[in-house]
């Protein structure tokens, strides 16, 4: 018993050394790759962030109209998981700010993965317009949903939008994407009701 364990121990020390050596090599490979990624990231990170914010800015202007007095104020994260970012849109005239509406950057779960919509809301909480920020939906199927002819049907809607009732009808062949857009708009409207509306009235009272 004692002999066996001692012989096993002597084998395992050489094995241990080998394991340690291979592990060390793997660590070296990994650190080299990490250094490479660090350099590429330092070059591209700024460009990526710049592009993202430019895209959102452009979308806000398309939805809310190009008003030189318009101010865009990003609100801090308000704790809803489906809502990525919220922008408060005000009109500044003679240092008097008047609320135009909100733009909510939200994500939806489509057929080709997640896609991102920017939903513009009027001051009274109705939908002003929807713009697609990024998507990976299929050309010819899901992409048909993400065009103005479908998205503009949400304009003016305020609460509890359901697919198939009224003029909002799912695009045939693209039910998944149609449903995803509808539920995304609904979650934005819910978010307005539960969080933005309150914040707005609080501000007015204060």
């Amino acid at each position: 018993m004692l002999n066996k364990s001692s012989s096993k121990k002597s084998v395992s020390t050489t094995e241990l050394k080998e394991i340690f050596a291979t592990g060390l090599k793997l660590c070296i490979f990994m650190s080299v790759i990490c250094v490479m990624l660090f350099f590429v990231n330092s070059i591209t990170a700024e460009k990526i962030a710049e592009f993202e914010s430019k895209k959102i800015n452009d979308a806000i202007i398309t939805i809310m109209g190009d008003d030189p007095n318009m101010t865009i104020e990003p609100l801090e994260d308000l704790g809803d998981s489906s809502v990525k970012e919220v922008y408060k849109i005000d009109s500044m005239v003679d240092e008097q700010s008047q609320l135009i509406g909100y733009c909510v950057y939200a994500k939806a779960k489509g057929y080709g993965g997640e896609f991102n919509l920017l939903v513009g809301l009027n001051a009274d909480g109705t939908v002003k317009g929807i713009s697609v920020i990024s998507d990976s939906e299929t050309v010819g199927i899901g992409k048909k949903v993400l065009t103005d002819s479908f998205l503009s049907k949400f304009n003016g809607k305020s609460e509890g939008v359901t697919l198939g009732s009224g003029d909002i009808v799912a695009v045939s062949g693209a039910t998944v994407t149609s449903k995803a857009v509808t539920s995304c708009v609904n979650s934005v409207l819910d978010f307005y009701e539960s969080t933005l509306k309150e914040a707005d009235t609080d501000e007015n009272n204060g």
Binding site: A21, T22, K25, L26, F29, M30, I33, M36, L37, V40, N41, I43, T44, A45, K47, I48, F51, K55, G112, G113, S134, D135, S136, T138, V139, G140, I141, G173
Partner: protein, 211 residues
């Protein structure tokens, strides 16, 4: 043993032709079926995907070939994954920064290049046994082979399924396309026909050469 030594002295043109035509990773070896079916719904996506895969293949082949004597046998797969994942992250960041619309339409398939079996197959069967220059040529050749196969399949699917090519309507706006070609089913169908055609042609060429 001698044959392997001989094999190491492969002609670069042979490697190039093998990768693009005679041992085309998709149409002959039937590797990388998943990205072929998933990213071939439009020619633009397909071309972007092909270029991204070629980039990763080229650099991972070079690095793996350089390190082929250092990488321990036991952990070679882990080492390959690290190297390939590194280059995939690089191309992912570059696409996001400079071609953001392509990056967003390819979505998850760019990160998934990490587990693309073409890149693994080339690392394991070629780059780990050959010098740097043949490996680099092999990487480019297989990448071009992949891109060509993907472009053929996607061009057919985009024309028949959406009536467009690179976004331009070729039959006029009123053309009613066969949406089924854009479904996974249409992808299998197209790929099957393309493979059958390629097999037929290479078979003819092979027989003619023998006679």
């Amino acid at each position: 043993m001698k044959t392997t030594v001989k094999k190491n002295k492969v002609s670069l043109i042979g490697v190039l032709l093998d990768g693009i035509v005679f041992k085309n990773p998709v149409l002959i070896q039937l590797l990388g079926m998943c990205p072929i079916l998933a990213t071939s719904t439009s020619l633009e996506n397909a071309f972007g995907m092909g270029v991204a895969v070629t980039f990763v293949l080229f650099f991972s082949n070079i690095i793996i070939s350089l390190l082929r004597k250092i990488i321990p046998e036991k952990i070679r797969i882990a080492a390959y994954i690290i190297i390939i994942a590194g280059f995939v992250s690089v191309i992912d960041m570059i696409l996001k920064a400079y071609l953001p619309s392509l990056s967003s339409s390819l979505g998850v398939f760019i990160p998934l290049i990490v587990v693309n079996c073409i890149i693994f197959a080339r690392a394991e069967s070629f780059a780990s046994k050959n010098g740097v220059i043949p490996s680099a040529v092999d990487g480019i050749a297989c990448g071009i082979g992949f891109t060509i196969a993907l472009s053929i399949v996607s061009a057919i699917r985009e024309i028949l399924g959406n009536g467009t090519i690179l976004g331009f309507h070729i039959f006029g706006e009123s053309f009613q396309p066969a949406t089924m070609m854009l479904l996974p089913f249409g992808g299998f169908l197209t790929l099957g026909f393309v493979i059958a055609l390629v097999q037929f042609v290479t078979d003819k060429i092979g027989k003619g050469g023998n006679k």
